[in-house]
Symmetry: C2
Subunit: 763 residues, 2 copies
């Protein structure tokens, strides 16, 4: 119904033939080498075949394939054979990891009436794999401790720290209670962690139909959304402390290696946890008494949401088999012709919670098709300058196990050789999402300009940019960014590149970026599919081929994006990093945090004043009593000058680098010797680490990006500083401002040094 005017089609239409257009998009290639690159890329992108991606998915999602299952083992073997058949040097690397599975699961309401939760996702006649009951993992949260507790229930909304502040205002405590939280608003492992910090003895996590059920559309199998008995499985280990095998923090869990005894493992939950469906949550929540839940907490079940405690009392018993299981990473290599010790790493996990057609097989299937196309090119004589490593990770779902253990095992070699890590995971329909090190922001704009969007036939970069204009003109009222950090439509129009988002956590890039300082990216298409089968038995081939990227057009686009990324990184004459994007976001993050600190200070001072002038006494409704906040210590004004100076210095270095880079590329093969510059560029992201890591979590060493200690997935940029302020640790904030400023300062020197190297006359 929405027709593209003919004139516009001409302007925006994607072209694979216009070499001049594409050349501008390809960073780091000499004039003399760009034509060959374009030809090779065009051939590879043309070879990516949706029918093969579909077949890959059909095979890999045919049966449940969680860690330790026969399906998981068989998939790893099949993937190995595929890589080998494509001409890659492939092997399986095996690790041994702690992987608990349920021995007992009981949830019952004991008052005001008896209800025993079903804890079971029914098979559906129309959906062939949903009936593979003997191979399915039951619904549970991995790394919950064993436990048997009976207590009144309290509804805690998302279960994040801000929710407990609201409970304090209502005079409600979870101490000695079982907390029931709804999925969303944080990574799930945060919910039991924060509940335990507040004294809860157990935690139930449920999927509210407001978030991924009938409130958004028809439920499966009529539609894509979560049916009444659908449950989201998932890990609840304390991954913001460290991901990977809980028994081998910081080192690879090679077979037979040393492991912590279970009693010394730090990332298990403190209280028992169980995920449930909204079908099972409904009777528990319906009977709650106590104050009405705040308006923003209310879900889509058809009754008043109350907080409790009162009426609903619940008995939760969970017990697990605490087994050590093997995981199998499939690692395939194509050796570089010119710089074999510079590695471009591409990865996607292969394990799932159940059949996992979307998560992760949609991404895995596309990545495998990339590998086939690249292998075919190599057989025809195409030679990447750098070594390409394709990895199909096992054990991502329980805790990024396969990628973390592999990278910890090979840490020293990766530190020397890794140029970049490019991840994907679930893939749907819509817009290209790129979260990445900002040193790759300009690079990815070029990649996105070279891939065609299958629905609109403009480049995925153009589609994303036009969507950003549309969104900027219609700001989301729930967006809490201050105006100064929101782009206007004209700012979007004026920008050279689309923005890449900062990486938090939630997939296998984590160890590469946060622990090893390897420039990383996560790519995938989404935005046009609302689904509610995540981590359930219904995430399967039937669901995916009815409700997501049904013709695998976006699987093809993902394969094209991945292949283009890898080929350009592997083939560039000069590695296509850029520091303008990094310095811009660092400057922006400093402004943001300064403003957050100012707002926090103003809010505390205002609230103290209100307490003193009797505001809370005056607004008290005696029929809905609330507890006035207490006077809090007045926060200091935090000084950000060290960070501001460091950011300014980085900006200068970035500009200097830019000019040197352009001169070097323009000079071409006849210019400076670039091997040294490449070798240094590869290390630029390493300079953003600190040995000590973040306060209280030394595994996380990157000083620009980390998953939040209380968000889990969500990124905290300049995390040491930002979290110190959020947690009102003013002395720590001052110290971290100085320490992070030194890291950024060092990066600025390092980048200036590369620029000088590029400008140095050839020896």
């Amino acid at each position: 119904m929405n027709r593209i005017p003919t004139a516009l089609t001409a302007i925006l239409a994607f072209s694979t033939t216009g070499i001049a257009d594409q050349k501008a998009a390809i960073r780091g290639f000499f004039d003399s080498s760009v034509a060959a690159e374009i030809a090779a890329e065009n051939e590879v992108r043309g070879a990516i075949d949706p029918a093969r991606i579909r077949e890959n998915m059909k095979t890999l999602s045919a049966r449940p394939h969680h860690v330790g299952s026969e399906g998981d083992r068989a998939n790893a073997e099949w993937l190995l054979q595929q890589f080998k058949s494509f001409g890659w040097d492939a092997k399986i690397e095996t690790f041994e990891v702690l992987f608990p599975t349920p021995a007992e699961r009981l949830l019952e309401m004991t008052a005001p009436e008896k209800y025993t939760a079903r804890l079971e996702e029914p098979a559906l006649a129309v959906d062939p794999t949903s009936g593979q009951k003997s191979e399915q993992l039951p619904t549970y949260n991995a790394y919950s401790i064993d436990g048997d507790v009976t207590a009144p229930l309290v509804y805690v909304n998302r279960g994040i720290p801000a929710d407990y502040e609201e409970l304090d205002r209502l005079g409600i405590s979870v101490t000695g209670k079982i907390a029931i939280a709804r999925y969303g608003g944080s990574w799930r492992g945060i919910k039991p962690k924060v509940a335990a910090e507040h004294g809860a003895v157990g935690c139930i996590i449920y999927s509210d139909p407001k978030d991924d059920g009938y409130a958004l559309g028809d439920v499966f199998p009529k539609g894509a959304l979560r049916p009444e008995q659908g449950v989201q499985r998932g890990s609840v280990a304390d991954m913001p402390l460290h991901p990977g095998d809980p028994g081998t923090p910081g080192v690879g869990s090679v077979p037979g290696g040393k492991r912590l005894p279970l009693s010394e493992v730090k990332t298990l939950t403190k209280i028992p946890v169980l995920p449930i469906s909204y079908g099972d949550a409904e009777p528990l929540l319906r009977h709650l008494t106590g104050p009405m839940a705040p308006a923003a907490w209310r879900g889509a079940l058809p009754f008043p949401y109350r907080v409790g405690p009162g009426a609903s009392t619940v008995h939760l018993r969970v017990k697990f088999h605490w087994d050590v299981k093997p995981i199998r990473d499939v690692v395939a290599t194509l050796r570089g012709s010119e710089f074999p010790d510079e590695w471009i790493i591409r990865g996607n996990h292969h394990d799932a919670w159940v059949n996992g057609a979307e998560d992760p097989i949609s991404g895995q299937s596309a990545m495998l098709e990339e590998a086939r196309a690249l292998g075919a090119m190599a057989r025809k004589g195409w030679k990447p300058k750098r070594t390409i490593v394709y990895c199909a990770w096992d054990g991502e779902e329980p805790g990024l196990l396969g990628s973390t253990e592999w990278a910890e095992t090979h840490a020293e070699e990766l530190d020397r050789k890794a140029v970049a890590y490019v991840n994907s995971d679930s893939n749907d329909r819509g817009y290209l999402g790129v979260s990445a090190s900002h040193t790759l922001e300009r690079f990815f704009e070029g990649v996105a300009a070279s891939v065609e969007d299958p629905e609109t036939h403009v480049s995925v970069a153009a589609r994303k940019r036009l969507n950003a204009i549309h969104a900027a003109a219609r700001p989301d009222p729930d967006d809490t960014d201050p105006d100064e950090f929101r782009d206007t439509p004209d700012q979007v129009r004026a920008r050279r590149e689309g923005r890449v988002d900062a990486l938090g956590s939630g997939s296998d890039y984590t160890v590469f970026l946060d622990h090893l300082g390897i420039a990383s990216a996560n790519i995938g298409f989404d935005g046009e599919v609302e689904g509610g089968v995540y981590h359930s038995i219904y995430d399967d081939f039937f669901w995916y081929t009815h409700f997501s990227d049904t013709d695998f057009a976006y699987g093809r686009a993902l394969g094209q994006t991945g292949a283009t990324t890898v080929m350009r990184l592997a083939g560039a004459d000069l590695l296509p990093f850029d520091f303008g994007g990094l310095s811009a976001v660092v400057t922006r993050y400093v402004s943001e945090i300064r403003r957050e600190a100012e707002k926090l200070r103003a809010r505390i001072l205002e609230q103290n004043r209100e307490v003193e002038e009797g505001v809370f006494a005056a607004i008290l409704d005696p029929k809905k009593p609330t507890v006035a906040p207490k006077i809090e210590p007045a926060p200091p004004i935090v000084g950000f000058a060290p960070l501001e100076n460091a950011a300014a210095k980085l900006s200068d270095s970035a500009e200097r680098f830019d000019r040197a880079f352009d001169r070097a590329v323009a000079a071409g093969a006849g210019g400076r010797n670039l091997a040294e510059a490449n070798a240094r560029l590869l290390r630029a992201e390493r300079m953003l680490l600190s040995d000590a890591g973040l306060p209280g979590r030394p595994w996380f060493k990157h000083q620009i990006y980390a998953p939040g200690f209380y968000t889990g997935y969500g990124v905290k940029t300049l995390p040491a500083v930002r979290e110190a302020i959020e947690q009102r640790k003013w002395k720590l904030a001052d110290d971290e401002i100085a320490a992070v400023a030194r890291v950024i300062d060092r990066e600025a020197d390092f980048v200036a040094g590369i620029a000088a190297e590029l400008d140095r006359p050839r020896q």
Copy 2:
């Protein structure tokens, strides 16, 4: 649980003994007369008795008492006797009005399955008056036309113009369809009006549980909210055109007077309309197909909200008895001793849709208690300087009939004599709400400072002010006011007065303010009661005494507020008007409208640009097709200088008046002769009328305030200008800017003239 610190109790505690404190709050009294005023007020406020208010409610809500019913007649007679027994000169004035009642009501879904709507609110055993079936009006919307239509259903959210713009984007038309709209977001009569403008052949209005049902709390009789079969009755006449008897626009419908034939009545709906419960709406909405409703449209019923058309086809038949019925206004007078031809008018309606304990008897019962207390004072020798007129209106519910017909009948006398009209209606628990002519803003701050809040024992002014500080520090994210028009907490602290809101429509002040230019106010307490019995059989004594102001403490506070207001207006030496508040809001309204015009222009230009650059083509999801907007004519830049100049002049006059007023009051009885100033002050609000009225609706003559043509209840300030811009009538906007500027300019001259009169040496 929220304790007031002892020291604060002392600071904020309300005192009726400190005459010095109260003196400051009382505007327009000489030093020599203020002590007597305070003593009289204290006695009256002390006399207001919650037990009597409760008895009044019990009597007046004992049975259904809608227009034309025996209960309505009996209540009028009883009120008459009460006023007489209190010593007032009281009478009943009768008018004859068009009042349709249902002859036939049928709503059935004919596809995809058969469902016949119940259209019936069940009696509840615990609630004694809910079973008075023989006297209850059936659920219906008054002034719907007769009709019998069968058509597919389309869900139109609130059914306001913006919702149809969203439908356009979805490619959905209501032409030839039946629109189903949910209550809220506008006055209900807007919904069928806008549906008909878009070609719908019928309109159903239902109460979504998200708005006043289980999403907010327990439903009646367990809690206060709307039960499954509860229905909101109500008028759907086109009242933004004119309120009052549809058959006698602009003139009083005295018995035997001339009336328009039904065929010439302009304010009936264009299509048949019926209100239903969410119990009846559920099957209709559940079967809708078509696109998902936009997220903000989705209610709390447990299924996906779709827009239609598709699947649900509906048959609607309504037929009415088009009767002319008598209505009985009870009018009681206490003659002024000094200025008998200056009238202070106080009113509250007495008719209800059914038993109407909250609406309107909570207000009526308190007003009657005021009249008793004032009558008792008069018997003891208290003499108000001005004439006090208490009015218990009939026929408010169908269309402000009693007040409108009375005021139209006595228009000439009111024009000469009316100082102010003070309205109340439903009263609950919480905060004093004052909507008023801004010429009374300072006056009402003094009134509010003299009434004690029964829950917190600070003055209702202090409670309101502290709540405003609290709210200002926590801005509602849904509030679309630009930052510059939001008070900060410190701005609230710095203001001398609390703000009064501008008057829209929805109760009996409308004819006084909008048609006759009499300074008006609407007072009542609310903010702590969420109810869902509005206009249903459950709005009764049982509901009110279980869930609202159960001990009538706020009934007492309303009576105290009303009596204080009336006594001060009636007893002031110099009428306590002020023009600083008026000039401040006029200045603010002009800024707001200028900004709205700029934003509208920017939005249209931006959208045109997006159409040209292919944004809508690029964001098209082929599985959820949308229709791109069309290029719109670029709006001109609107010039506001005439209004800005007039507002500045009014501000100067207001300051001059302020100084003259203070000098005159300070001079006391020995100062200037104030009779002429009082006589002119009484007319200051009249100067804000224009004879021509608003464009297209000449009955509405006030140029500062009017209910919006597409909001019904909600006020549009500087309505002629604001609506011209909203409706993109640029030429009209220019003309109205000039015309309204002339009205404000005339007001400025008039106010300056009063100041000069006050400063003129005594003759």
